[in-house]
Symmetry: C2
Amino acid sequence: MKTYSLCLLASALAAAPLASAPPLLTDGMRADVASLVASGKATDGAYETIRELLEAAGPRLAGSPGDALAVAWGVRALKARGFVNVHAEPVTAPHWERGDESGELLLPIPLKLSLCALGGSVGTAPEGVEADVVEATSLEGVDALGEKAKGKIVLIWKVMERASEGSGYGATVPIRSSGASRAAKVGALAVVIRSVGTSDARFPHTGALNYTEGVAKIPAAALAVNDADLLHSYLSKGMRVRLRMKLGARTLPDVQTANVVGEIPGREKPGEIVLVGGHLDSWDLGMGALDDGAGCGIAIESARLVGKLPARPRRTIRVVLFANEENGLAGGRAYAKAHADELGRHVAAVETDSGAGRVRGFAWSAGPATEPLMKELGAALAPSGLGEVRKGGGGADISPMRAAGVPMFSPVQDSSRYFDIHHTADDTFDKIDREELNTGVAAIAALLYTLAETETPIEKIPEAERERRRR
Amino acid sequence: MKTYSLCLLASALAAAPLASAPPLLTDGMRADVASLVASGKATDGAYETIRELLEAAGPRLAGSPGDALAVAWGVRALKARGFVNVHAEPVTAPHWERGDESGELLLPIPLKLSLCALGGSVGTAPEGVEADVVEATSLEGVDALGEKAKGKIVLIWKVMERASEGSGYGATVPIRSSGASRAAKVGALAVVIRSVGTSDARFPHTGALNYTEGVAKIPAAALAVNDADLLHSYLSKGMRVRLRMKLGARTLPDVQTANVVGEIPGREKPGEIVLVGGHLDSWDLGMGALDDGAGCGIAIESARLVGKLPARPRRTIRVVLFANEENGLAGGRAYAKAHADELGRHVAAVETDSGAGRVRGFAWSAGPATEPLMKELGAALAPSGLGEVRKGGGGADISPMRAAGVPMFSPVQDSSRYFDIHHTADDTFDKIDREELNTGVAAIAALLYTLAETETPIEKIPEAERERRRR
């Protein structure tokens, strides 16, 4: 009994300061938040913006014709939607080209394989690489192959698990980024991985690899999961598996591309910036609808809706469509460098790069003093299904600003289907559901507005938490 | 009141003969049917048979290496499962090869297209065919293009509707079979169609076309629905659309392939035959898992289970794995010709070629005297969810036997997802659900047994209904 009473007392005391403090969201702000949620859920703007980008540019890997078309589109699109200070900021980016590619199983049966080079891979000789296949199921398993890998093609067969938050990705993607160099260390001629993806559709999933300095660069490709599973089945029975693949991939001299920027000027503190962005580039195989046409659409439309309020918010909202996220992060790095002097005035940076799935709230990374505001906003959004607020916001493009302590935000989003499509030829406009997409517009519009309007300071990320993190 | 009483009376009279007649399914037969349903639902046999075929042969279009591997596998597999009189019967079949192929959008943006030649298409010149695109939404619309089609590539954009029984296929497939010749008649250089399929996955769907005698043969390809919809969107806005495609397709001299046959001999009337079959060939793009590995697996396993009963049924069950269904029906025609003399002793022919979806019963085509037996069997199967019995059974491979009046049967099956996968590279083993597949094994085993055991004559298809029909 005594314990129980003490608990009640402690609880009452803890709640007291909150209960007695004036709300951080004023009645006027609450009304604006409600209005933005309603207009976000009803808009056609994000959906049509994505369609427009895809139809104007198509796939848009840095250095490709689509990349240049996308930058031109971005400038036009932001101007057409009423943003000001619209301009393109130069970015020097890697230029990798896929070229023609093919793969075929030679033993135990002849079969055309569904594969694609990983981004950044070297090509094969024109006649291709042909060898027997040995298998590992992890990077440590590749190391353990030792002599057995010499002169062979190594298959890394690891299954990515489906999860609502896409957590299976982090657990599997190291085979993509590090598999080639690990296999090269044990003498392999090439590496093929089971695609890092969650669907059983027969598309290979591309994505960047990283070659380790000082290790031979060997060609690396992803097999569609079905093809990888077939090879795995043969190898599990002790059968000889032999394949040939030709990759026309090559890295060309760096290219000039651009981040596209536009603003809704703040009414009182135009020098203070709430940044929101997605990335304008995409992998080359698909149309970049989910990755990251959706993020561009959400960023642009949510900012536009805030700008349409009867009174613009206090601070400037700056939309940034980042270049070259997929293949080097040159856009995010260039932004942080070019704007180093004003990062102290970046009140917040919001990144939208997790597809078009249903948004349930947002994640935040900032100093602890920011928590009460986040909680109030979460409570205000809860009746709309957007109130799931948690710590841990961030994103690849905004990560270079982390060292300056810029508070970071991102949607809390259902990614359970995202990795079905991610980095495949199947990333096309039809994969976007307008109603689900608009949950993101509603949540991000409310968040942008609150960050740009609040008189509560948004505390910088504490020094101890500023080490760079990439998603 | 009077009308009501008369109805009751008529109803009582109509029911009387059925009520007083002895049941056509004896107690022993009912017990065997129940046992087959139970073993069909529990077996691993069909699933593992399909896996074995796919791993042994891969894609298996007539004339391909996989086709020869499949015939060899079929003979091995039937022997290994205890069938007797196992042999391959020669079939002369068309030999069409896809070769390399590619397509690219040139205007309004550069884009690699997802397309494939339709089966039987002529190739393009090595440099490809390049032209502006004009659109029609039906074959009549192609005719109506008239002069506008001259020197152009015609896009036929027609959406296939999803339906449980796959009825959208029949409504759409004429654009595939006849589109090329219709477009050639109005002077088109080539034709591209929106894939005849129901999924939004970015796979083109191949399938056979038929060139009309006396009309120029022009190259014909299917675009993935996403790519077709993109072109449609541009054209709907009045934009100029230009594309280039290269098709390496060609028809080579006819090849020798084979129908694979094996039997479970009847214990009393071995000369009377109940045939069950699927087709061993497949299109070249995928692994032919649903089309028609599944049908082969169901046919083989259901017959095997009947053969495992304590007493084999009265009549012979003959499994036929037909050659070349996809690209000419040479296997079905060769069978009917080679066995013309014994078609009179074909009591029934059952075809399984609608994928691996859930089976709810079976359809039958026979004389009306057969109806009471069908109804009794349906009633016996109803508690197992397999009792949906209706008229209209048949199939492509067995259709050449229709002229001889051979009664025809096929599963009543959920095909609502079948046309997502059908004729694409995505037709792979992982698309098969064992539990759904086994509903087919259970239903077909019960049907085969009943047809092979019953003392009730199975009446031939009436003369008036024997005109050939293809599915």
